[in-house]
């Protein structure tokens, strides 16, 4: 394998003066946040945007709180989303959505996996849900992606891809489904590609 052998996407025209789209992805280490981050970046590149992402690696990620940042648009400098500046918060776990709350404003859309991963001294599930409903003033989607993926695909692991599909088909991310599918094909290993595409399409079917 050589770096040059990777498939390269054709460069496209840059949209003029589009406002940057800022996204924070939250979850627990091991939920596949980096894969989702990479897929969105590839999709945004396919549509000709400037892109920057930020992520963390290492021990702190092992079962701990994780967040990645994705920014794309016409003129992007910082790889980090500023406090209060997220357009979309995608959280793969309910408590983690609260953890990244400060990136949101009243205009931020929350897309949250209705999945509760407990830890020592955590808030009870009902209280977390109540807090989300209380705090999030804007549009929110609490979706049982883990449960749906487990039931319909026997694979909870693709719940993030399901949510990505949900976000695209419901226009919560200003990127085309084809671009996202292209991103999935770029990033997901061949062996798991079909499963991931299925999860993505399942979100369309479920609407």
């Amino acid at each position: 394998m050589s770096l040059a052998e990777f498939v390269l996407l054709p460069p496209k025209k840059m949209p003029k003066k589009m406002n940057n789209f800022n996204m924070v992805i939250a979850g627990v280490g091991g939920q596949g946040l980096i894969t989702i981050t990479q897929i969105i970046a590839e999709a945004a590149q396919a549509e000709g945007y400037e892109i920057r992402t930020s992520e963390l690696h290492g021990l702190s990620q092992r079962g701990g709180s994780v967040e990645t940042h994705v920014r794309f648009g016409g003129e992007v400098y910082s790889p980090l989303v500023g406090l209060g500046e997220a357009d979309l918060v995608l959280s793969l776990e309910m408590q983690e959505a609260l953890k990244v709350f400060s990136y949101s404003s009243k205009n931020t859309v929350f897309l949250v996996n209705k999945k509760y991963i407990p830890f020592e001294n955590n808030l009870p599930e009902a209280e977390v849900e109540k807090k989300i409903n209380e705090l999030v003033k804007g549009e929110k989607h609490l979706i049982a992606a883990s449960e749906i993926c487990q039931k319909e695909l026997n694979a909870e692991v693709v719940s993030g891809i399901y949510l990505l599909g949900y976000a695209v088909f419901n226009k919560l991310i200003p990127l085309k489904p084809e671009s996202m599918l292209k991103g999935i094909s770029e990033i997901v290993p061949q062996k798991y590609l079909e499963l991931n595409k299925k999860a993505f399409e399942l979100a369309k079917k479920n609407g």
Binding site: L3, Q95, F119, N121
Partner: protein, 543 residues
Amino acid sequence: MKKILLGNEAIVQGALEAGVQFVSTYPGTPSSEIGNVFSKIAKDNGVYFEFSTNEKVALEAAIGASFSGLKSLVAMKDFGLNVCSDSLIPFCYTGAKGPTVIVAGDDPSCWSSAQSEQNSRAFAYLAHIPILEPSDPAEAKEFTKLAFDVSDRFDLPIMLRTTTRVAHQRMPVEMGQMANGKNQMAVGEFIKDKKRFVTLPPRVLEMKAELLEKIEEVRNFTEKSKENKIIGKSKAKIGIITSGVSYLYVMEALKELKLDLPVLKLAFFYPLPEERIKGFIKNLKKVLIVEELEGFLEKEINVLAREANPKLQINGKNLLSEIGELNQIKVAFAIAHVAGKGYKIPKASPDIPKRFPRFCPGCPHTFVFNAVKKAAPEGTVFGGDIGCYMLAGMPAYNLQDYLFSMGSSIGIGHGIKKMTGQKVIAFIGDSTFFHAGIPALINTVFNKSNPLIIISDNRTTAMTGHQTNPGLGRTGMGEITPEIKIEDIVAACGVKNLKVIDPINQQELESTIQDFLNKDEVSVIVARRICIIAAKKNAKENE
């Protein structure tokens, strides 16, 4: 053609485009992916690659390759510089023969670092090593090539200093031509030259003089370098000087504040283009220095301003903390303050309980700590070391009374055991034992100390992403090599109380801990069981 690359992948790409021939590393976040990628692609790209035992050895191997005329790169995290500094400083005296780049990853905010929040720019003063600071993956690639070029021109090793937000940032990067032919590994030649490679007095003082002269030559080069640049054409009387990832925050903040201020972006932290800086500040009323951690740049500019513009109001660490990484919000606050504009800092998150990292289900370290928890008497002192097993310091284990640098669990444990009557258990992993534990173990035997050392051998360098190490019988390029057995080393150091135990055998482990804690001589348990994640990875690869 552009491809989205992680900062570390961009460094690999830059090194390949520059024609790197030798690469060595010891893994450490945020630099680990450099080694991980080379480990996969080195062979196909005509590059020799190795995971070395520690950063000092990694640098020395690269020095050997450089002295043999080869283009070399060595990568490490910030603390690795401390480990290799004993050889780094003389390497600047001798200079590099084959161009050599040292990549060091700092971690402001300590996202993935215990022990300290290090600002490795300080090595510029200690070692007189030129330092380049890229701000993003595109620059990481270009600056890697520039570093090789500068190293080639001036026969000096060059440091490429990244930070977490550069190393772990992704963006599209223009892909260039690889310089090497495929599968053509270079063969160097060491041509004897005592005057050049032997650092003995009185010659070493001449070498220092030559080094300082070279640095002035590099400074002349940086004065002209287009990578030290002024952004925009603003004639405003307030200016900003910045470098590295801070530059991105400055540009983002200026956009948000709708301000047009001149920005001097420095690629070289050392040596600084002093005339360029003086020219930039000459007609300013105020300047803001935007840099993470300690204000080294600000101190330099304070000195330059004395001559160029004594009335200049210099801002920096009065507005931006020396602790923790920056972001556009902190920078916008500072810029707004200097520009006399209002700026509201956004609200913080609701206070919710923190989810700490935890041991993976089935992690072999947990078997070790479960047994220790049961077997060790009240008052036992527990020494931690660098690896996943640091998590033993958190609840519910609470088995970590001190934590320092690689290998220090044994060294410090010896000191405590020797000078108190208390029982001491030092924990250390396999890769960390090879890295820096062995001299400390020899010291405990030599000086008749008797801590209990538990070497948790999980058959991988787990924390940084499962790199190989000397105990695994496989090199960084995937070649078969003799497996170095930890118990053989321990026995050879003269340790008599030695047992290899699979920690899943809890009773045997507990009774051995109890037995060994009462010995008059040092004792060692090698708790050997493969990391649960590594085992899964191996199973997948063998599928």
